[in-house]
């Protein structure tokens, strides 16, 4: 075993401001990039598994920001930018403090909301994107379900996607 099922994240219990004002929605800055858990899981090839959702479908947040939103580790948040919205789990960042910034490791979840704008420099803007973060009750989708729900390449009834059965954690194809 060279991996773990989910990243080890700190659990911050004591806040400097225990009576921090609660917000429904936070205006934040989004950064995406590589992370060692994401890299190990992606290159191992385990992208359909729950493990990949746990390492990529997460937003590393400052504990203070999480207190403001009233979310604890592994609860869902909705992150919205000009380019889309996605449900990810919020976790305490091991690089805190970085109040006002969230980090989502690169992967299908982050890329639903990153900017494809290259400004004629060939490189999309993956970092420094304005976003809003709010608490959500929805569950983080598995990779295959996310790709189907967002890009809808092989679904006829696009309205009915939420009701479709999950594609699960193993590749789905017809054997000969």
């Amino acid at each position: 075993m060279t991996y773990i099922e989910k990243p080890v994240v700190p659990k911050v219990i004591k806040f400097e401001e225990p009576t921090a004002k609660e917000y429904k929605l936070l205006n934040m800055m989004l950064n995406t990039g590589s992370d060692i858990y994401q890299g190990a899981c992606k290159k191992r090839g385990s992208t359909c598994k729950d493990e990949y959702r746990k390492v990529c479908g997460v937003a590393y947040m400052d504990p203070k920001d999480m207190a403001k939103l009233g979310v604890t580790n592994w609860e869902s948040v909705k992150v919205t930018t000009d380019w889309g919205e996605v449900i990810v789990s919020a976790v305490h960042s091991r690089d805190a403090p970085h109040e006002g910034t969230i980090f989502i490791p690169k992967g299908p979840w982050a890329n639903v909301i990153t900017s494809h704008e290259t400004y004629c420099c060939c490189d999309p803007t993956y970092k420094g994107i304005y976003c809003t973060v709010e608490k959500s009750d929805e569950e983080v989708l598995l990779m295959a379900d996310l790709m189907r729900a967002v890009y809808k390449k092989y679904v006829e009834d696009e309205e009915g996607i939420p009701e479709l059965e999950s594609l699960g954690e193993m590749p789905v194809f017809k054997k000969k």
Binding site: K43, G45, P97, S115, T118, C122, Y154, F173, K174, K176
Partner: protein
């Protein structure tokens, strides 16, 4: 984390293998092999080990084609290759993207196929270090090999990069920790500086962390340049860093014997893109007035630099090379994959050893959902979910040999350690087959047209 006992149950050790993960291309790995599978890897980092000890559940083993219901269906090699060749031969504006996790030998056939059909050949540099290559074209490239850094450098600067997460052995094997010829005490003889808005895992172990503000790279390097030139900085803070700290850092950088700067995607992905790197390189030019400084981009994949070197050597341009007019063209913002996809120009997309489904911004993937996608890869990933033809390749550096280029431009031959699964084929074979089949279709078309 749970304790993991060492792997003792293995048949043989294959020594001196090269890691097929990041641009460090560590060539000292030992694979522990049992029943034709790698069960343990010695000397590799967590990333390299996890890649070599792959997840066989998601290994692509058979060629597949989407049927009319939108489900992938296993087919034989001939059917899949014919289908792919038919798509490529019929395309008006095909893109062949990827190449960074395959061998130079495969790219050789890729170029010929690209020239034949007038495709755009692009690699992962287009979404990571493309701006670095543009900056190198703008202002030069004071490069050194990693061995030179190991033996000489007494100051290492990582900027916009987090090697402890993305190149874990970079510090251990090449830059910071090893004892070198002129740095006999290893870590104690070197100063490690991290410049990054994030207090990253690398920043935590650095001697100096400069946490300038987000998108503040450009201003910060300019301030250091001003300090180096003896100019007065008239603001108290530049990019969130006090003026005194900048002056002190500039002084320190001036007074080392040999400095090395490594920069990552923190510079290329923020708003000023290639201008950040222009400025970083020019900062080194200024530093070289006083002492010796070199820089290297922290390349991500083991052969991403290989594609750029190979293309620049063969075609004169490093990436985003467009053959649609019959000769090679390169124009930033025009012949690059993301721009072509967001403008909805591309009509057939072939991905070789890459994962656009996971790593392209949504706006670009949306166009991939509208056009046929051919995938040549070893694992089932987000791209397979949007692929129409899937051709299972083999694992370079483990299941087949091949040449790759390290991040500093040193070519390394990666040897074969184990046999590939019987139903898979070498990437080189797949691309050569596609080339032959497309050539046949084109010849038939030409014969028909001449009648």
């Amino acid at each position: 984390m749970a304790y993991e006992p060492p792997v003792t149950d293995y048949d043989e050790i294959v020594e001196n293998c090269t890691c097929a993960f990041c641009g460090c291309n560590c060539d000292d790995l030992d694979f522990l092999v049992k029943d034709g599978h790698v069960v343990g890897v010695r000397h590799a980092c967590r990333l390299g080990a996890s890649k070599v000890m792959e997840d066989m559940d998601q290994r692509l083993l058979v060629p597949m084609i989407r049927d009319e219901n939108g489900e992938l269906q296993e087919v034989d090699w001939d059917t899949a290759l014919d289908k792919a060749a038919e798509l490529i031969a019929g395309a008006v504006r095909p893109i062949f993207y990827g190449w960074s996790e395959t061998s130079i030998e495969t790219m050789k056939h890729g170029i010929r196929l690209g020239e034949l059909v007038g495709a755009v050949l692009d690699n992962q540099a287009t979404i990571c270090h493309g701006p670095s290559l543009q900056a190198v074209q703008n202002v030069g490239y004071p490069v050194a090999t990693l061995g030179e850094i190991k033996n000489r450098a007494d100051m290492i600067v990582y900027t916009g990069s987090n090697p402890m997460n993305s190149h874990p052995r970079h510090l251990a094997r090449y830059t910071t920790f090893p004892r070198g010829w002129f740095r006999q005490r290893g870590r104690f003889d070197r100063t490690l500086v991290t410049m990054d808005p994030k207090y990253s895992d690398t920043a935590k172990m650095s001697d100096i962390w400069i946490g300038f503000e987000q998108n503040g790279d450009y201003g910060f390097y300019n301030a250091i340049r001003a300090a180096l030139k003896g100019k007065e900085i008239d603001q108290d803070y530049v990019s969130g860093i006090p003026k005194e700290v900048i002056m002190e850092l500039a002084e320190k950088m001036k007074n080392v014997q040999f400095g090395a700067l490594y920069f990552g995607l923190g510079l290329t992905h923020t708003l000023s893109k290639q201008r950040n790197i222009d400025m970083a390189i020019e900062m080194l030019t200024d530093l070289n007035e006083y002492t010796k400084w070199v820089l290297t981009p922290m390349r991500g994949h083991f052969n991403v630099n290989g594609f750029n070197i190979f293309m620049a050597y063969e075609m004169g341009f490093p990436y985003g090379v467009d053959f649609c007019r019959g000769y090679q063209r390169y124009m930033n913002g025009e012949t690059n994959t993301i721009d072509l996809l967001t403008r909805k120009e591309c009509d057939v997309f072939m991905v070789i050893a890459a994962d656009p489904g996971a790593h392209y911004p949504g706006g670009a993937v949306k166009h991939l959902a509208e056009i046929p996608v051919i995938q040549v890869d070893i694992h089932w990933g987000p791209s397979t979910e949007i692929a129409d033809v899937v051709l299972p390749g083999s694992f370079i550096g483990v299941e087949c040999g091949g040449t790759s280029y390290r991040m500093d431009g040193v070519p390394i031959y990666m040897k074969k350690a184990i046999d590939k699964p019987e139903t898979c084929r070498d990437d080189e074979w797949i691309i050569r087959e596609l080339l032959e089949r497309v050539q046949k279709i084109k010849d038939e078309e030409a014969a028909l047209a001449s009648k």
